[in-house]
């Protein structure tokens, strides 16, 4: 598998920069040789996917230079990148469920005669391609939606391979694959390597990375901190490079005193994402949920809240001995649970409606008599909340869509505080929010815990959890991997636990 050091560079990036509201890529130097598998690893938000998107033309970098086969390379869009032989197979599938396998593979270049699709040629070519990638058992005429997710992904990879492709980017390709499918994928990768294709492989499954990659690059906070030959680096070194030793020291603060038990979850199971989750949350404390993307944290919270079906397991509230059955968000709210969803705009807010309507939605009953809303008390309550939250807005009648991300989040928080729930679950409360508003939200969460509420925070920003929480539960591959008390934890321990579920060979 060893690659000659003098193999010519296929691709080289120098000083690539990209910022959104914060810096995502900070002068990254990266290169890829022909016939090489180069793995990219890093925490959530370290910049792996952004780098891949820059290379595949989905995102234009703010600065830096890209070179492909020695010539300057600046893809205008995904199509342009594909003309240059650069392809990316994405985490989310691009396939259209109601088309056949053959149609999906050749969607942008369907063989036709005067606009009529030549199905014989289409299916023959698809057959040849599927054989080539070892998917002999898949009929080209099958509908994509009848395939499992794993096979859909393989079909998409096959589609990627059907074009001229010198540089292939695979973003978490094995997340949904079963063992034999993974083997099939690895055979294909070996075949492509032999043919001289360069492959960028993004994953957090360390076993796989060690097995198939030639070199490993570690990204942290948008910086490429190290590039090593795979055989030269051990797992624990990768982990400590991912979290960064220098950031170890943090605000030392005493753990809040544990209040009465507020919520106890036992062996929760929901869909494919939540396999086995048990934990306890106490009043007066903030419990953090750490884990990698897709480790099942959001799904766990949605199942507890009744937004998704809870297949197995039990939830006990407020120290009761009997479990409660929560089948809908309505029942959850009646039991004093609030969930502030990850997707603020899609699931949390009535974007087109004024701030007032959003704030009072949950508490209209208190502001009304016999079903009629008392306009004056509604307005004064809304104004009171706008002031308490120091919400920056023109008036309570301003549509929420016009507010900044931070102020929108404050509206969501205020809306739930109004309802006075005892257990508050925050899913990614600071995503897409500027730094100033972030600290205001941290302060609010702290105050809620001090008031004796049980606060649960799901976050992909580990530093945020370290600063904020009294306890941290770590999820990995749908299971609760470990729980740490404040003072016990280190970033290394948490990261190792977060990776643990993915280490075990399936």
């Amino acid at each position: 598998m060893a690659t000659q050091p003098d193999t010519p560079h296929l691709f080289r990036a120098a000083g690539v920069r990209k910022s959104y509201s914060s810096v995502v890529l900070d002068s990254v130097d990266f290169d890829l040789r022909r016939g090489e598998v180069h793995a990219l690893v890093g925490e959530n938000g370290a910049g792996k996917t952004t780098l891949a998107r820059v290379i595949s033309g989905l995102v234009a970098p703010d600065g830096g230079r890209l070179e492909l086969r020695g010539a300057p390379y600046a893809p205008r869009n995904k199509l342009d990148a594909e003309h240059h032989g650069v392809r990316m197979v994405m985490q989310e599938l691009n396939l259209i469920a109601n088309l056949t396998v053959a149609e999906s593979i050749f969607l942008d270049q369907l063989p036709h005669r005067l606009g009529w699709i030549d199905y014989r040629r289409l299916n023959d070519e698809a057959r040849r391609l599927l054989d080539q990638v070892g998917l002999r058992h898949i009929e080209p005429t099958r509908l994509v939606k009848t395939l499992g997710v794993g096979h859909q992904q393989l079909v998409e990879i096959a589609a990627g391979l059907s074009r001229n492709c010198d540089l292939l980017i695979l973003d978490e390709p094995t997340a949904a694959l079963t063992d034999p499918e993974i083997e099939l994928l690895f055979t294909q990768i070996a075949r492509l390597k032999a043919a001289g294709t360069g492959i960028i492989y993004i994953s957090h499954r360390m076993e796989e990375i060690k097995r198939i990659s030639d070199r490993i690059s570690i990204l942290r906070d948008g910086q490429l901190v190290a590039t090593k030959r795979s055989e030269e680096i051990e797992l624990d070194q990768i982990v400590s490079l991912m979290v960064g030793r220098d950031l170890e020291e943090q605000v030392q603060r005493d753990q809040r005193k544990r209040g009465p038990l507020a919520l106890r979850a036992d062996k929760l199971r929901s869909g494919a994402a939540v396999q086995d989750v048990s934990f306890e949350a106490f009043r007066g404390q903030i419990l953090g949920f750490a884990g990698l993307m897709g480790s099942g944290r959001t799904e766990t919270m949605r199942a507890i809240f009744g937004a998704d079906r809870l297949d197995l397991g039990s939830v006990r509230l407020h120290g009761a001995a009997e479990p409660v059955r929560i089948r809908s968000p309505r029942q959850a709210v009646a039991q004093g649970i609030a969930l502030l969803t990850e997707d603020r705009k899609g699931q949390g807010l009535l974007l087109a409606q004024p701030i007032r309507v959003n704030l009072t939605l949950l508490c209209l009953c208190q502001l009304s008599r016999l079903g009629w809303v008392r306009g004056a008390s509604e307005r004064s309550e809304a104004k009171r909340w706008v002031n308490t939250m120091s919400l920056r807005c023109a008036s309570i009648e301003q549509p929420v869509v016009q507010l900044s991300g931070g102020n929108q989040q404050k509206v969501v928080i205020a809306k739930w505080l109004f309802r006075d729930c005892d257990i508050l679950i925050f899913d990614e409360p600071t995503r897409g929010i500027d730094v100033g508003a972030k600290f205001e939200i941290y302060r609010m969460l702290g105050e809620l815990a001090d008031q004796g509420k049980a606060v649960i925070v799901v976050s992909s920003d580990l530093k945020e959890l370290l600063a904020l929480c009294d306890r941290i539960a770590v999820m990995s591959a749908g299971r609760l991997a470990a729980t740490f008390e404040r003072g016990e934890w280190t970033q290394d321990k948490i990261m190792t636990a977060a990776l643990s579920g993915y280490l075990a060979t399936k």
Binding site: L58, V59, A60, F305, A307, S328, P329, R330, A332, V333, A334, L339, T341, K345, G346, Q347, G348, L349, L350, L351, A352, Q353, P354, V357, L361, L362, L364, C365, S368, G371, W372, V373, G375, R379, A382, K383, V386, N387, L391, R392, C393, A394, S395, I396, E397, Q398, P399, V401, Q402, L403, S404, G405, N407, K415, R419
Partner: protein, 347 residues
């Protein structure tokens, strides 16, 4: 960066509302004040005024009491059906069955009075019950199986029309004086149906803008998932909205039966499209979450004045339809720009 995401981000980037305002809530609330009302109804009133002016100038017999009495006699049932339709559109659903259900309720009233000799109150109660049953079916089926109301109510459209023909053997039932009294009654010179329609419009507008139920309707139309995740079950509210639509259709059916003194199984054919057109001209969004019954009332008036006026200047039927169609499209295009103005930050 895909354009959708970029679009989402746009409102956040604008710095205007970041301006520090120590007492930000004291000023400029535009809704709920007289200025907000004027802003909302201004365009429609101008359009209505323009139409009346144009028709009055182009023919000297348009501007007369008779014209307006004719209009006032024709539109009560349209106003009442469009009121229910406004509610349905606000929760981002649609009810295509209103015309046929109107036919069915009419048929039931006629057959009940003439064939079975029910007393008038029983016949009216039967019509109301039939409207409610149809609404309940629409609501329950679309909510229970999460089906698009477009299809469910399209099915109801066929079923109800079939039912109307089955009840009457496809024969118009002549009723005569047994029911005509309802439409002929006048209060202060205005016909009873017209007054009833006005009362319904005002009541429905108050329920929409002042009650919890109305607020939930708007919230559901804006983002049903957000409502569900806020711990409010949207399903019963949606069913009630379809029920109300059915009930209002029954009321309109009784008014029409009374006006014509007969029950035609083909009554209300195409009524659903007229109602939707009126609601849309009034500025209620087909995407839900925004609308007003008062503006729907103006929408019905605009269509009625347009039709009467065009007839007065001697336009043929095909011209009338052409113009009405153009007005509908123009209203939607104008509303699109008005909304863009409202949703972008104030300058």
């Amino acid at each position: 960066m895909d354009p959708g995401q970029d679009h989402d981000r746009r409102p956040q980037r604008l710095p205007r509302h970041q301006v520090n305002n120590p007492t930000p809530t004291q000023s400029q609330s535009s809704r709920g004040t007289w200025w907000g009302w004027a802003e909302e109804y201004f365009g429609l009133l101008i359009a209505l005024g323009l139409l009346i002016t144009v028709f009055s100038l182009s023919t000297n017999h348009f501007l007369s009491l008779i014209t307006f009495r004719t209009i006032a006699n024709q539109i009560p049932s349209a106003i009442i059906v469009a009121t229910g339709m406004t509610y349905v559109l606000i929760i981002a659903e649609i009810d295509l069955s209103v015309g046929s259900v109107l036919g069915l309720c009419t048929a039931l009233t006629g057959v009940g009075l003439m064939r079975y000799h029910w007393p008038l109150p029983v016949a009216l109660a039967a019509a109301a019950a039939m409207g409610l049953i149809c609404g309940l079916f629409n609501g329950l089926v679309s909510v229970r199986w999460r089906l698009p109301s477009f299809i469910v109510t399209l099915g109801m459209l066929e079923m109800a029309r079939g039912g109307a023909h089955a009840l009457t053997n496809s024969q118009t039932q002549y009723i005569g004086t047994a029911i005509e009294g309802l439409a002929e009654a006048t209060v202060l010179g205005l016909s009873f149906p017209f007054l009833l329609a006005i009362v319904i419009v005002i009541g429905a507008q108050l329920v929409l803008s002042r009650t919890i139920f109305g607020r939930y309707m708007i919230a559901i139309g804006t983002n049903e998932e957000a409502v569900r995740l806020s711990g409010i079950d949207p399903r019963p509210i949606k069913v009630v909205v379809f029920l109300l639509s059915g009930l209002l259709v029954a009321v309109a059916a009784v008014i029409d039966t009374s006006r014509f003194g007969s029950a035609n199984p083909n009554a209300g054919t195409g009524f659903e499209l007229q109602a939707i057109a009126a609601v849309v001209i009034g500025g209620t969004s087909l995407m839900g979450g925004r609308g007003s019954v008062i503006t729907t009332f103006f929408g019905v008036l605009i269509i009625a004045v347009l039709n009467t006026g065009l007839a007065a200047v001697g336009a043929k039927d095909e011209t009338k339809r052409l113009v009405t169609g153009l007005v509908i499209v123009a209203a939607v295009v104008l509303d699109h720009y008005r909304q863009r103005l409202r949703m972008s930050p104030r300058s």
